[in-house]
C-alpha cells in the first residue's frame, strides 16, 4: 500500500514540475531556503550601502585630521576614528566598495578564463587537451601567496592599483575552475544531443556555447559563488600584509593592517573590529548563498 502511494506522489510531483524549466525550479527551491535568502539580502544591502556610500555620507575619507585621531565611537563618529583621524564607519563602507569590487571582478575573470580553457580542453580533447591541462597543472603548482606578492611588486605603479591586484589574482587562480569545467564537459559531451548537434553541422564554437555550456552552467555558478568568498579573503589578507591594494585606498584588508600596530590592536578595538565583522559576515553570507545554489541546482535534493 505504501509503495503505491509513494509512486502516486512521485508521479504527481513529476506532473506538477513538468511545466517548469530547470531554472525556474532552482529559483523556487532557492527562494524557499531561508538562510540563503537572508544571506542574499544581507549581501545586497551591503553592496547597496557601499555603492551609495559617496552619496549618502558627507565625509572626505582621504583627509587626514590630526585633531581627531583615535577617537572612540561617539554620536558624531559612529565607529570612532582611526590613527589618521578618518571616520571608521565611512571607511568601512568605502572599503566594502573596493573589497567587493575586487572579489566580484576577479571571480568573473577567473570564471571566464577557467570556463574557456576547461571547455576547449574538454571538448576538443587530444593534444590540445593535454597541453591545456599541463598548463593548468603548471599554474596550480605555484605557491599562490608567494607569486601574488612577487607579481604585484613588479606590476605596481604600472597599472592602477586595484586592477593590478585583480589581474594578478585572476592569472594565478583559474586552474581549479578549468579542471572542474573540463570534467563536466567531458561527461556532458557524450550525450546524444551533442552528436546530433554536430551531425547537423554546428560549429565547435556553437556546440560549446549553445549546447554544452548551458548544461554545465549550474556547476560553474556554484563554483563561482564559492570562489568569490575566497577572493575576498585573498584581497583582504594581501592588503593586510601590505602587498595588496595600495595603502591609500580604503579596503577591509588595508583597514585591518592598522591592527598590526600592537597599540591599536590592544587599546583601540573600534578601529579593527568593524572590518573584521564586515569580512566575516560577507564571507559567511556568500558561503550560505553558494550552498543554497548548490542545493537548488541539485535535482536529487528535495529541501
Amino acid at each position: 500500500m505504501e509503495v503505491v502511494t509513494n509512486k502516486n506522489d512521485a508521479e504527481r510531483k513529476i506532473a506538477s514540475q513538468s511545466n517548469h524549466s530547470p531554472w525556474a525550479l532552482a529559483r523556487k527551491k532557492f527562494i524557499r531556503n531561508k538562510l540563503a535568502m537572508v544571506s542574499l539580502s544581507f549581501l545586497m544591502l551591503l553592496s547597496l550601502l557601499s555603492i551609495l556610500a559617496p552619496y549618502i555620507l558627507n565625509v572626505d575619507i582621504a583627509r587626514v585630521d590630526f585633531l581627531n585621531i583615535n577617537l572612540p565611537p561617539s554620536s558624531e563618529h559612529w565607529f570612532g576614528t582611526d590613527s589618521n583621524g578618518r571616520d571608521v564607519f565611512a571607511r568601512t563602507l568605502y572599503g566594502g566598495r573596493v573589497s567587493l569590487l575586487i572579489g566580484l571582478a576577479s571571480t568573473l575573470c577567473v570564471t571566464l578564463i577557467g570556463t574557456i580553457i576547461g571547455a576547449i580542453a574538454g571538448y576538443v580533447g587530444g593534444k590540445i587537451d593535454q597541453f591545456l591541462m599541463r598548463l593548468t597543472d603548471f599554474v596550480l603548482t605555484f605557491p599562490f601567496t608567494v607569486f601574488v606578492v612577487v607579481l604585484n611588486t613588479i606590476l605596481i605603479g604600472k597599472v592602477s592599483g586595484v586592477w593590478t591586484l585583480i589581474m594578478v589574482i585572476s592569472l594565478l587562480s583559474w586552474g581549479g575552475t578549468a579542471r572542474i569545467v573540463r570534467s563536466k564537459i567531458l561527461a556532458e559531451k557524450e550525450n546524444e544531443y551533442i552528436l546530433a548537434a554536430i551531425s547537423v553541422g554546428c560549429s565547435p564554437f556553437k556546440v560549446i556555447a549553445k549546447h554544452l555550456l548551458p548544461n554545465v552552467a549550474s556547476t560553474i555558478i556554484v563554483q563561482a559563488s564559492l570562489l568569490m568568498a575566497v577572493m575576498i579573503v585573498v584581497e583582504s589578507s594581501l592588503s593586510f600584509i601590505g602587498f595588496g591594494v595600495p595603502a591609500d585606498t580604503p579596503s577591509w584588508g588595508n583597514m585591518l593592517s592598522e591592527a598590526r600596530n600592537s597599540d591599536v590592536l590592544q587599546n583601540k578595538p573600534w578601529i579593527w573590529v568593524p572590518p573584521c565583522l564586515a569580512i566575516t559576515f560577507t564571507i559567511l553570507s556568500i558561503n550560505f548563498v553558494g550552498e543554497g545554489l548548490k542545493d537548488a541546482f541539485n535535482p536529487k535534493s528535495n529541501r
Partner: protein, 321 residues
C-alpha cells in the same frame, strides 16, 4: 608503486625547469638588481660598480646568467643576501625549522580536533551536538585565519596574557635547555591553535559524512547482526574505512600551510620562511626571494606527489599506473 613514484619524480623535472624560468624572469623584471648582494654599497664610485657588475656577470647574455643561477642553485649555493650580508642558504636554513614546527603543530591540532568532532557528529547525526559542530565549522570556514589571529592575539595575549604574541622563543634562553624547548612550544602554541582550529571544517564534515554513509553499508549490518557492540562497530569497523580519505588531504594541507605561512607569520611576527620572504621582498633582497620562491614551488610539487602516493597506499582499490 616504485615505478610510478620514479616516473612522477622524473615528470617533475620539466615542471621545475619551467618554474625556474618563470622565477628567473620575474626576478629580472623586479625593480633593482637581482644579484647585487656582492657589491659594496658604501663605495659609490661608478668605475667600481661597473667593475663589479662585469665581474658578477651582469653584462653577460641573459641565458648565461640564467644558467649560472640555476647550476649554482642546484649545488645549494643560493647567492649572497644583500641585507644580511651572508649566504642566502644559511638564512633560509635558519628559518625552515620554525616554519616546519608551526606547520606540523597546527596539522596535529587540526587532525586531533577534526577526528573527535567528526567521529562524534557522524555517530549522532542530526542531533543538537551535530548541528553545533556544523555551525562551528561554518564559522571557522568563513573567518579568514588572519582575522582569527588578530582576535586571538587581542584576547589571549593582551587581555588574558596567556600566550606571547611575537617571536619564536623568549630572549636569553640557552638552546638545548628544557626551558628553551618549553618556550618555543609556548610561542608556537597560539599561531598553531589558530591555524589548526580554523581548518578543521573540511576534515570534520568529510569524516562525518563518510561515517554516516558507511553506517548504512552491508558490512555494518552484518556486524550488527552478529551482535558486535555498537561502540566497537563505530570505533573499529567504520572508523578504519572512514579514516582512509582523510590521509589523502595531508599532502595538500602541507602545501597550504607553508604557502599560508606568509600571512600567519607576519601577524605573529614569527621568524619563519614566510616572514623572511616578505622582508626580503620589501628590502629587494633578490637572492633570498628567488630561493624561497623556488623552494616553496618544489615543496608544492612534492606535496602533490605525496597526496597522490598516499591515495594509492591507503586505498588498495586505487591502482596507480
Amino acid at each position: 608503486m616504485l615505478q610510478y613514484t620514479i616516473r612522477r619524480l622524473l615528470g617533475m623535472i620539466p615542471m621545475l625547469l619551467l618554474i625556474s624560468f618563470v622565477v628567473f624572469t620575474l626576478a629580472k623584471m623586479m625593480p633593482g638588481d637581482p644579484f647585487g648582494g656582492e657589491i659594496d654599497p658604501t663605495r659609490t664610485d661608478p668605475k667600481y660598480i661597473e667593475e663589479m657588475r662585469e665581474k658578477l656577470g651582469y653584462n653577460d647574455p641573459i641565458y648565461v646568467q640564467y644558467w649560472r643561477w640555476i647550476t649554482k642553485f642546484l649545488q645549494g649555493d643560493f647567492g649572497i643576501s644583500t641585507t644580511h650580508k651572508m649566504p642566502a642558504s644559511e638564512i633560509i636554513m635558519e628559518r625552515i625549522p620554525n616554519t616546519l614546527l608551526l606547520a606540523v603543530t597546527s596539522l596535529v591540532i587540526t587532525y586531533v580536533f577534526a577526528f573527535f568532532m567528526g567521529m562524534y557528529a557522524g555517530r549522532k547525526p542530526y542531533t543538537i551536538s551535530d548541528h553545533v559542530i556544523a555551525g562551528y565549522n561554518y564559522i571557522a570556514l568563513a573567518v579568514p585565519s588572519f582575522v582569527a589571529a588578530i582576535v586571538a592575539i587581542y584576547f589571549f595575549s593582551f587581555k588574558l596574557n596567556l600566550f606571547p604574541y611575537s617571536g619564536s622563543v623568549a630572549i636569553g634562553l640557552q638552546p638545548g635547555t628544557w626551558e628553551y624547548y618549553v618556550s618555543r612550544l609556548h610561542h608556537v602554541a597560539l599561531p598553531a591553535l589558530v591555524l589548526g582550529l580554523m581548518s578543521t571544517a573540511s576534515y570534520t564534515q568529510f569524516l562525518r559524512n563518510d561515517i554516516i554513509e558507511n553506517s548504512r553499508k552491508d558490512y555494518v549490518r552484518t556486524a550488527r547482526a552478529k551482535g558486535v557492540k555498537e561502540s566497537k562497530i563505530y570505533n573499529k569497523h567504520i572508523l578504519r574505512n572512514s579514516m582512509i580519505p582523510l590521509v589523502t588531504f595531508l599532502g595538500f594541507d602541507l602545501v597550504t600551510l607553508v604557502s599560508g605561512a606568509v600571512i600567519t607569520e607576519t601577524i605573529f611576527t614569527y621568524p619563519g620562511l614566510g616572514q623572511l620572504f616578505l622582508q626580503s621582498v620589501a628590502t629587494r633582497d633578490y637572492a633570498v626571494v628567488m630561493s624561497i620562491t623556488m623552494l616553496l614551488s618544489i615543496f608544492t610539487l612534492l606535496g602533490n606527489l605525496i597526496a597522490d602516493l598516499l591515495y594509492g597506499i591507503v586505498d588498495p582499490r586505487i591502482r596507480l599506473e
